[in-house]
């Protein structure tokens, strides 16, 4: 019974089951808003000098020095085959950590944190905002008219899949 409520379901004071709440960092790519579980996010940085790394995929913009640690930076627009744009004052680098792998995502803007019920996350349609479903965990509804696209970090950072993608392009 508990399982059906999803992991982490718990009783509230009144003895009713409530769905697990998660905190999500919201960022923008084009006209869409995306979300990453706050536990996966190390920091959010302003745009900083990036050292180009040659002989890699074009969406890997290079490496940055984040307080003494060298971290690769990916342009998420490039990663999702969206059109890359000029960086602005709003551009942010979101440093995420999956396992012991740390990567920075360049996004158009990142300026919100919201609480979500896991229940409110629906499985994604095939393509959302030009991003394939496999990179997504689902779509969450926030408030009345806001939709958050939840990223599947493991897939976004999957190197094997990247190699495959590259082969197709060739």
């Amino acid at each position: 019974m508990l399982q059906e409520w999803g992991q982490g379901a718990r009783l509230n004071k009144g003895g009713f089951f409530v769905a697990e709440q998660i905190k999500v960092i919201v960022f923008a790519l084009g006209n869409e808003e995306y979300g990453i579980d706050v536990d996966k996010v190390r920091t959010i940085e302003r745009m900083m000098p990036i050292t180009r790394v040659p002989k890699t995929y074009s969406f890997i913009k290079g490496v940055i020095n984040l307080r003494g640690v060298v971290i690769p930076v990916i342009d998420l627009r490039g990663r999702f085959n969206l059109e890359e744009t000029e960086y602005t004052d709003q551009t942010r680098i979101i440093i995420v950590a999956v396992g012991d792998m740390e990567v920075g995502f360049i996004v158009d803007a990142a300026n919100d944190v919201v609480d979500l019920d896991r229940d409110n996350i629906d499985s994604p349609p095939e393509v959302v905002g030009g991003v394939k479903a496999k990179y997504l965990d689902g779509v969450a509804k926030v408030g009345e008219d806001r939709l958050l696209i939840m990223l599947n970090l493991a897939e976004v950072l999957n190197r094997g899949e990247v190699a495959h993608l590259e082969q197709l392009e060739d």
Binding site: T51, R52, P54, K55, N65, G68, V70, D100, V103
Partner: protein
């Protein structure tokens, strides 16, 4: 009282004392007469006992107490160090180490030490276990004429021993002569030379102590001793020697064949035990980093002052590694702020601000160097336990061998240091067990009885190499292949086309073992594949070269992750790169008209030959630089083995000490790039991998 807060301090200090005990014991074994070493050992043991008792580790304290009793007798000259005493003391050290290990892992440091305690007590009572009884009387009868022939002076090797034997058999006289020179003598070396000159006119000097070179350089106290073959009468010789001026005394002892045999036996025994080389070999092998290094000092110069220089402890404090990491990261942030300040200073254009920012810049780059170097540890911390290990191993296998360590000061990042110990132990054991032959085999092959294992560490390019080389029997290609085919690792067809290197790599295949006899040291076929996988996880690899009958070389190549190298910083348009200085042969400038096109590749004249010119800008797709636009271009000539190539670059920035960092887990391998470094201004610069650039 709660002792927990002192526990980690206790563990650290105990380990230090144990290490020093081990080292000093080896040193003492090499020169058992040197009481000053016993004093050092005694003090270490005493401190250890005190600490253990305070912390409530009773077994530890009890055992050290018994060791102390033995050492006390030795330092008061009531007991002579002998083989079985060394063995028992070494066993005690092992037990102590095991206990401290147990405490480190949260145990109570309890162990059954009653057997060792009993044998230590037996030693104190003056009992001699059966096996060693021969040694004691031999010592007594070696002094028939009342002249002290201490073991230290009697360092005859096999060869010299047999010469003396033959001379006796041929009816010549063999004399042991000890000459002392007057204290007020000004030119000791000259007097000694006169004695030698005189003696050589009437016979042959077989062996002197100190060596002739040392005597010539006046590296002796007031007396020297020698073995002498002659026809002359001892008394006559004595008078002749005493007739020389400034000679105080000369003792001549005739040695008969019985004494000689006993001496020989004793020497043999000592040599099997002593893995440290005899003084004369140590003097030749200059960079020896074991107890052997200190031995010539101990043997030749007994002044305690000289010894103190060697034993001076480095002044250090212990710091938690995590604190260092925090320090490093904080410092990096400081650097970023420094750059911001510098930018602000140029905008505001205030003289005073600019000056203080510049000063801060200089201070912070010094600070940077120090902070970066803090994480580096000399590989000595791994190597220092090997002399003892090899000694025990050689003894249990009945082999004679010297371990020669060079490059122990080579620095590696702490993380690598922590991991590299076990693989090296395996490789060393392998060399001692399978590489070095038994004494009989070595003699039959016309090699010296004592085998040599060289352990070397050095920086090369962006790697650290650790090499283990033995002068043993080498790897038998056909034996390896036969075993591999039998085990189904390779097929017979495959085996024919394999290169030697490929065959040697089979040794690292899981479950592979060529030893005919399985010993408890190695040869279970589980060692080397573990070694290989461990080294691979560290990002390194092992290469093997071997010549049948002459020896084997295992070369472990490790990346310098996080270690510091010297590099040439260069510019490629707006981008900066670092080239490891160790792979740079030279730098220069070439004109466009010197470049020749041969079959589509560019060549430039270099010294007497032509070497390929590589376009770094094309290789890296540099966005804003192309050397083709320049009439003259700067080049860096790099080397990989014996091949060279020139890299065309934009301009040189200068030479720097840089800290190597990896590019992060997401970018494990990038062609032509071995890592990254953080520059003084906080920016990341990539480090070129010259090995990948030269095909």
């Amino acid at each position: 009282m709660d002792m927990n807060q002192y526990l980690s301090m206790f563990i650290d200090e105990s380990n230090d004392h144990l290490q020093s005990l081990n080292e000093k014991m080896l040193e003492l074994e090499a020169s058992p007469e040197d009481i000053s070493i016993v004093q050092v050992i005694f003090r270490s043991a005493h401190t250890l006992k005190g600490m253990a008792a305070t912390m409530g580790f009773e077994d530890l304290a009890a055992l050290t107490h018994q060791m102390e009793n033995v050492l006390d007798l030795v330092r008061n000259d009531k007991l002579k160090m002998q083989n079985f005493i060394f063995d028992t003391l070494f066993k005690s050290l092992d037990a102590l180490e095991a206990m401290v290990q147990d405490i480190t892992q949260g145990g109570e440091g309890k162990a059954d030490v009653s057997a060792i305690v009993a044998s230590l007590q037996a030693i104190v009572r003056g009992e001699v276990p059966g096996g060693a009884q021969d040694a004691a009387p031999a010592e007594g009868s070696a002094q028939p004429a009342g002249a002290p022939i201490s073991k230290e002076q009697v360092q005859l090797d096999e060869f010299q021993h047999s010469i003396l034997e033959q001379s006796l058999a041929a009816g010549h006289r063999v004399l042991f002569i000890e000459v002392s020179i007057r204290e007020d003598c000004q030119l000791k070396a000259a007097r000694a030379y006169m004695v030698f000159d005189l003696l050589e006119r009437s016979g042959e000097v077989v062996k002197s102590h100190p060596t002739v070179q040392e005597i010539e350089q006046e590296k002796f106290d007031r007396s020297f001793s020698l073995y002498f073959i002659t026809e002359k009468d001892p008394d006559e010789l004595r008078t002749m020697i005493l007739n020389l001026s400034e000679i105080e005394d000369a003792k001549l002892v005739s040695i008969d064949s019985d004494t000689l045999t006993q001496l020989g036996e004793k020497i043999k025994e000592e040599e099997v035990l002593a893995q440290a080389p005899a003084p004369e070999t140590a003097a030749d092998a200059a960079p020896v980093e074991t107890a052997a290094e200190e031995k010539p000092v101990a043997a030749g110069d007994k002044q305690p002052a000289a010894k103190k220089v060697v034993a001076a402890p480095s002044r250090t404090i212990r710091v938690d590694i995590e604190r260092l990491d925090v320090l490093m990261n904080l410092f990096s942030e400081l650097l970023i702020d420094r750059v911001r300040l510098e930018q602000l200073a140029t905008e505001i254009k205030s003289q005073e601000l600019t000056e203080s920012v510049e000063h801060m810049g200089r201070v912070s780059s010094d600070l940077q160097n120090i902070v970066m170097k803090l994480r580096m540890v000399a590989i000595d911390t791994v190597f220092n336990r090997f002399p003892r290990m090899v000694r025990d191993l050689a003894k249990s296998l009945g082999k004679k061998l010297d371990l020669v360590i060079t490059g122990a000061e080579t620095e590696l990042d702490r993380t690598v240091i922590d991991e590299i110990g076990d693989p090296l132990v395996h490789l060393l054991r392998n060399s001692v067990d399978h590489g070095i032959e038994s004494i009989a085999e070595r003699v039959a092959a016309g090699k010296p009885e004592t085998g040599t294992v060289n352990l070397r560490a050095f920086h090369s390019g962006n790697h650290v190499f650790i090499e283990i080389q033995d002068d043993g029997k080498g790897i038998d290609r056909s034996k390896v292949l036969a075993s591999a085919i039998k085990k189904g690792v390779v097929t017979e067809d495959e085996s024919r086309s394999m290169t030697d290197e490929q065959v040697y790599q089979l040794l690292f295949a899981p479950g592979f073992s060529t030893a005919e006899k399985i010993s408890d040291i190695s040869g279970r076929g589980v060692g080397l594949d573990v070694v290989k996988s461990k080294i691979s996880t560290l990002g390194g690899h092992v290469a093997v070269t071997s010549t049948l009958g002459e020896g084997t070389l295992f070369s472990v190549q490790l990346p310098l992750t996080l270690s510091i190298i010297s590099a040439m910083m260069i510019r490629l348009g707006s981008e900066k790169y670092a080239i490891p200085l160790s792979s740079i042969v030279e730098t220069g400038i070439i004109r466009k008209n010197q470049v020749r096109n041969v079959h589509g590749s560019k060549l430039i004249p270099y010294r007497d030959a032509h070497i390929p010119l590589m376009s770094l800008s094309r290789f890296f797709d540099a966005p804003d630089f192309n050397e083709e636009d320049e009439e003259e271009t700067e080049i860096v000539v790099i080397r990989k083995g014996d091949r060279m190539a020139a890299l065309a670059i934009d301009s040189f920035i200068g030479q720097n000490e840089i800290v190597i960092k990896n590019l992060g887990k997401y970018l494990p391998q990038v062609q032509g790039i071995s890592g990254a470094t953080i520059l003084g201004d906080g920016q990341v610069a990539l480090i070129l991998d010259p090995n990948a650039l030269i095909k």
